[in-house]
Symmetry: C2
Subunit: 418 residues, 2 copies
């Protein structure tokens, strides 16, 4: 079979499997997930042996230590995957939820029923544990999934898929519910992105390059975020210590993730006291401060920022800092350079807090809290399958409900339209 | 300016205008809508004079009587547009609604706030009243709108836009909130569909050709439906008279619309009594019945259906009829030939009613009611801006809420992540 035929068959099989999935009971779905957890435990040696092939090939290819670390299915990672499955079992099943039922003047009763989306296509980079995390969430939400992982993880992903499909078979569920694309050929991705008759949604996870490629080549809707250029605005009335803690946590706790802080905006009336306090803290943690002119005049160890620093997602211990004259200037800066991911105001002023919450257009807008809280788990969604900074369908962290949609249902007793 | 530059400027202006729209109070938006209503009333003579140019050109081009009728802004149509504006004023403002606020274990309070989508692009065919209907709904939901109507209606649409923009100016609102593309050049549509940095959503309304063109050429998400191939399934236990009324209403009341009935499926155990009853009714109304073999053996005046009839949206007094052996066969037929628009079961059997409601994948699934109820007004959405048979973001009739999205909001008092 050509690559195109292979992908077409996978997509068609997934669509057929999705129809059977949609009618599965919660109990059945949970039994499948439980069976997956025991399968992963029982097959750990097999999975790790396959993973070893990827690690050896990765070393030979000269992958960085960080990438090899993300690729490795250590006992700890295996344990986390199995725990993750049990957490998905514990989540309430969103499918079948009926809401907004009301009687209309015509006499019909109209409401909405939550249903699966259908087939989800997941395109991701080297972490093979995404295979299990994404598959389990899609399954719980009643969807079929087509997975395309990074080429470095192909043996690991195929081994994981085999164990997951065995679990599906053991519960008499169509194994085509979970399929890993068995080739590392890049054309497979392009083919996958054309299957708009079969695949309902594409979720890419990885670097900006991957996400732009997917977004530009897909005929299927894509839920994505390119980057997280998150800001904290320290308002004139901010409590100094609270501001210092929130900035420090945002920048230092885990700088390599998308909800880390990248740019600090400080009201000019508080800059003279706030900046020295926060700088002491940040410099001690090894953070490089790239400041505007005013910032550099207050923090002597700051280096001058250039225009290129404002839209930057540093993902390391670098912080851009700008002094602004007002809330409006801060919000204008966010419109100009933000990525609609997460924006924070630190303030004691009620009116400013409410204006910021209402007027800032980002998937998460916060008062007096760290950007690092922008996360499906912290927001109470249970697990998270990704984050969307596009506004259609889902905006922000996506959990189980974001893998479903609602149809209208009507109960009548013979009504016709007049 | 080239067409590309013109469209780019319109889109950029719309994006800037959308930011100011998002912060407008409900009272202000309602004042603008009221001012539009009085403007349309005061400027009726001007609008009808411009409309006359389109009608004269349309007659010269040989447009059909039906198309000329849809193009005409008669006193009655003008009155309906003005009434429509007043109805939009009466609808609750969806923007700013806060839901799902709850305290998380970390101490932060997380919830969701409903916000406008941003800029909506509307592409539609000859009816110029869509200009006012769509603009008013988008405005109430806090969005800017770029309108591209049919070339036959260009004078009417520009006249309407001028009146609407005057109303925006009179309330000190950026007139770029509502813009009609001032050229009939088809390249303008192609350019518009590339403005993914500025336009958040495209809604096409018109024939299948227009919708396919938009869908295939857009880099912006599109909410659409191609066609409505709606079925009624008469189950073994159906009440004969109820079934006859529902079928008759679905097919005869307004055959040219997307929620009209196209295919009747009848359980074989009831076909012998039901089909003669429904046929008498349909034949009296002038409906042509295209039946499967069994149908033709029961209804002598039926003509044999061909394979091409099952996926057909007739939009006229023709009904395809098939006898099936079970609920499952009916649902399989709907999967194979349906368009995920509206599907109806007529039954007295509880289990079958619940299986149909749960298992049929369509934007509206009904028990014992006419397909003709699939409509934003009948479903209680207030006005309707279109219907979606794609599952992302909105599935079924779209009202004001479907022109918005939700962001996450977080209230903290200094929390950081540990």
């Amino acid at each position: 079979m050509s690559i195109q035929e292979t992908i077409k068959k996978i997509a068609v099989d997934a669509k057929i499997a999705a129809r059977s999935m949609a009618a599965l009971s919660t109990a059945k779905k949970n039994r499948v997930l439980e069976s997956m957890a025991s399968g992963l435990l029982a097959q750990t040696a097999f999975i790790q042996a396959e993973n070893q092939k990827d690690l050896v090939a990765g070393k030979a290819k000269g992958l960085s230590a960080a990438m090899l670390d993300r690729l490795e299915l250590s006992d700890k990672v295996m344990g986390a995957m199995i725990d993750g499955l049990r957490q998905v079992i514990a989540l309430p099943d969103p499918v079948g939820e009926i809401s907004d039922m009301s009687r209309r003047p015509s006499g019909i009763t109209v409401g909405r029923m939550r249903i699966p989306l259908g087939v989800i296509g997941m395109i991701y980079e080297s972490r093979p544990n995404v295979t299990v995390d994404a598959a389990s969430l899609c399954l719980k939400a009643g969807n079929a999934i087509v997975l395309r992982g990074g080429s470095e993880a192909i043996h690991s992903n195929l081994a994981l898929a085999q164990v997951l499909q065995d679990a599906l078979r053991s519960e008499d569920v169509d194994p085509a519910v979970i399929q890993v694309i068995p080739t590392t050929d890049r054309d497979a991705v392009t083919c996958m992105l054309q299957m708009e008759e079969q695949i309902d949604l594409i979720i890419p996870r990885g670097g900006e390059g991957l996400i732009r490629f997917v977004s530009e080549n897909s005929r299927i809707p894509v839920l994505k975020h390119y980057k997280g250029v998150c800001h904290v605005f320290i308002d004139e009335s901010a409590k100094i210590e609270m501001g210092v803690n929130i900035v420090n946590n945002g920048k230092v706790q885990r700088p390599g993730v998308c909800n880390a802080l990248e740019t600090l905006l400080v009201h000019e009336k508080i800059a003279g006291t706030f900046l020295p306090a926060v700088a002491e803290n940040l410099l001690a943690a090894g953070v490089e401060i790239r400041g505007c002119k005013k910032t550099c005049s207050i923090i002597r160890k700051a280096v001058p920022a250039t225009e290129a620093d404002w839209p930057m997602e540093f993902l390391e211990l670098i912080l851009a800092v700008k002094v602004v004259s007002s809330l409006d200037e801060a919000m204008d800066h966010i419109v100009a350079y933000g990525s609609q991911h997460t924006e924070v105001i630190v303030t004691e002023n009620y009116t400013n807090s409410q204006r910021f919450i209402r007027e800032v257009d980002a998937s998460a807008v916060m008062i007096n809290a760290s950007t690092r809280f922008a996360d499906g788990g912290e927001f109470g969604l249970g697990s998270e399958i990704g984050i969307s900074t596009t506004k259609l369908h889902a905006y922000g962290p996506m959990g189980l409900k974001e893998l479903t949609t609602k149809k209208f249902i009507v109960y009548g007793d013979g009504q016709v339209r007049v």
